[in-house]
């Protein structure tokens, strides 16, 4: 493939100094993410998957090595608002309506009033929350709140979506539904998505590329290119192909991970 590289990490190292000595969160991480990829980061807690995502977002600064996003340094990319970030919790402002919450980044980025309205209406449709714009966050279920927070990350024209365990706090039924919707959304918007999870089925179901990570120090132990088609109904999870990929992910996790 000659796809354009959107995110590139080279020899990335990151240590956090703590009172008990340094914590080696990322060690020698190399990865290319291409335009339109859906990349999942999977691994046990402490493997640095969230740290890696935060480094791409320039919320953490690497100790060594480089990250480029859209050909810029991560911090330049952040300042040019290259990505939308979705956190584990929806984090909507209780004093703003759903529309008001989605409008927040647009206000900060100086979109005109007319553009704000247009964008909000568009993304509300995209996450299937049409008609809920005037509601306040507490009037919505957890799943709907998380969809609103995804809409907020999509509202401005960033071509990258970074998602840090966005569905981690939701029950499995809601999660399945949101996974399906997320795939449709990805298909329609053609964004590049980096997605942190610790669920194997979620990673396999969603991704075109699965990055398996292992802890102490945090590093990449396997990168799996998915052979599943772009079009993925939920019951693709019962196919042999899906099981095979899931098996390889599990092997990768086991190999890179000392369970003692």
């Amino acid at each position: 493939m000659t796809q354009e590289v959107v995110i590139q990490a080279q020899n990335l190292d990151l240590t956090f100094p703590t009172n008990d000595g340094d914590v080696h969160a990322l060690k020698d991480v190399n990865l290319d993410i291409h335009k339109g990829d859906f990349v999942s980061f999977i691994g046990p807690s402490g493997c640095g998957k969230t740290t890696f995502l935060r480094t791409i977002a320039a919320l953490e600064t690497p100790t060594a090595g480089t990250v480029t996003v859209n050909g810029m340094t991560a911090d330049e990319a952040r300042k040019s608002r290259a990505y939308g970030y979705v956190f584990q919790a929806a984090g909507l402002y209780p004093w703003r309506t759903i529309r008001g919450n989605i409008k927040l980044p647009l206000e900060i980025m100086g979109y005109s009033k007319a553009e704000q309205e247009e964008h909000v209406t568009k993304v509300l449709d995209l996450v299937d929350l049409r008609g809920f714009g005037q509601k306040f966050p507490w009037q919505l279920s957890g799943g709907m709140q998380q969809r609103a927070s995804i809409a907020r990350a999509l509202a401005f024209d960033a071509n990258i979506l970074l998602m840090d365990e966005p569905f981690g706090a939701l029950d499995e039924i809601v999660r399945d539904h949101l996974n399906e919707q997320l795939l449709q959304l990805w298909d329609r918007t053609n964004k590049t998505i980096a997605f942190v999870t610790h669920s194997i089925p979620e990673a396999v179901y969603l991704s075109t590329k699965i990055v398996v990570m292992s802890p102490r120090p945090g590093r990449i132990s396997d990168v799996i290119e998915s052979t599943l088609p772009r079009e993925r109904p939920l019951d693709i999870r019962d196919t042999q192909e899906f099981q095979d990929i899931a098996h390889r992910v599990r092997e990768g996790l086991r190999a890179g991970h000392a369970y003692d």
Binding site: K79, Y85, F87, Y93
Partner: protein
């Protein structure tokens, strides 16, 4: 209705204890008077007398209520003997000081949250300021401000030019307001520092991904998040401002206000007057705090934070 019984029980208990204490504390005077007149008093006569003395050690509740009625309803509100007049003098100083103190407190908190030097430099002074007994510092502020002539809200000429006369509350209000502000800024500083720092890392990171400026972060996130803390601080600050105003009235000129009523009452042994002023002050404080609570409930409900 379920709340009425416990409340009534408590009120009744207080009344019983109060009336009994009145008898206990005032009976010496009754027996002394009888002894001097060479008469005997029965127990019933003694009890009735202890609840109706002119200068009792502890006035009975009904005496305080009667005094409150006399000095509010039966007096013109412009009269120097009207508790409404004195209450308004105290209230105006309290409110002026409260507004200044709250404003100062919020500004200091904003500085402390945004500037590390201020965080290290201001907080110790703010705490130290509150360790000085207000009774010690109030007369000094009054004297200093009197000396430099900063006592009235508007000068006599300016006030007369504007209203045709100098409103009573404006006279001597500034030292009182300063002391009220001195007491009320502190809870606001402490509460607002906590409130402005209440947004969690995730919320701050989110705004960082938007490359939001500090002032944006302040107005969009920090300020709204601090609202519940602000109201809590305002309630404490308001009560503190009232205490400050009353304490400063013990030394301020002219001798007016609820504090002055308590002071003159104690000069002349007018215990009933003191208690009436005390109750007026307590009612004032309760009303002011209740108003803030009402605004708090409405705002927080509107902001989806209740």
């Amino acid at each position: 209705m379920r709340n009425v019984l416990p409340i009534l029980t408590v009120v009744t208990a207080i009344m019983v204890i109060w009336y009994a204490a009145s008898v206990g504390m005032n009976k010496k005077w009754t027996y002394d008077q009888a002894g001097r007149a060479g008469t005997e008093v029965t127990f019933t006569e003694m009890v009735v007398d202890t609840w109706a003395q002119e200068r009792p050690v502890l006035p009975a509740p009904h005496q305080v209520v009667a005094e409150l009625y006399r000095s509010t309803v039966e007096k013109k509100i412009t009269s120097k003997r009207s508790l409404v007049f004195h209450g308004w003098i105290t209230l105006s100083a309290t409110l002026l000081g409260f507004v200044f103190g709250t404003g100062m407190g919020i500004l200091l908190a904003i500085g402390i949250v945004h500037n590390r030097a201020m965080d290290m430099g201001v907080m110790p002074w703010a705490i130290a300021s509150q360790t000085i007994p207000i009774l010690a510092i109030a007369p000094m502020i009054v004297v200093v401000m009197n000396t430099i002539g900063a006592t009235d809200l508007l000068g006599k000429e300016a006030a007369t030019a504007m209203f045709g006369y100098q409103p009573a509350f404006m006279k001597g209000i500034l030292p009182k307001a300063v002391i009220a502000a001195y007491l009320s800024f502190f809870p606001v500083v402490v509460g607002m520092v906590k409130g402005l720092r209440s947004p969690d890392h995730m919320q701050l990171d989110l705004l960082k991904t938007y490359n939001a400026s500090k002032s944006r972060t302040f107005w969009s996130l920090r300020m709204p998040s601090s609202t519940p803390y602000l109201f809590t601080s305002l309630k404490i600050g308001m009560a503190a401002a009232l205490v400050g105003a009353i304490v400063s009235e013990l030394s301020a000129v002219p001798l007016r206000g609820l504090g002055a009523r308590m002071l003159t009452g104690s000069y002349y042994g007018q215990t009933i007057q003191i208690w009436a002023a005390l109750f007026a002050a307590a009612t004032l404080a309760a009303t002011l705090v209740a108003i803030i609570s009402w605004i708090e409930r409405r705002s927080l409900k509107k902001m989806g934070m209740s």
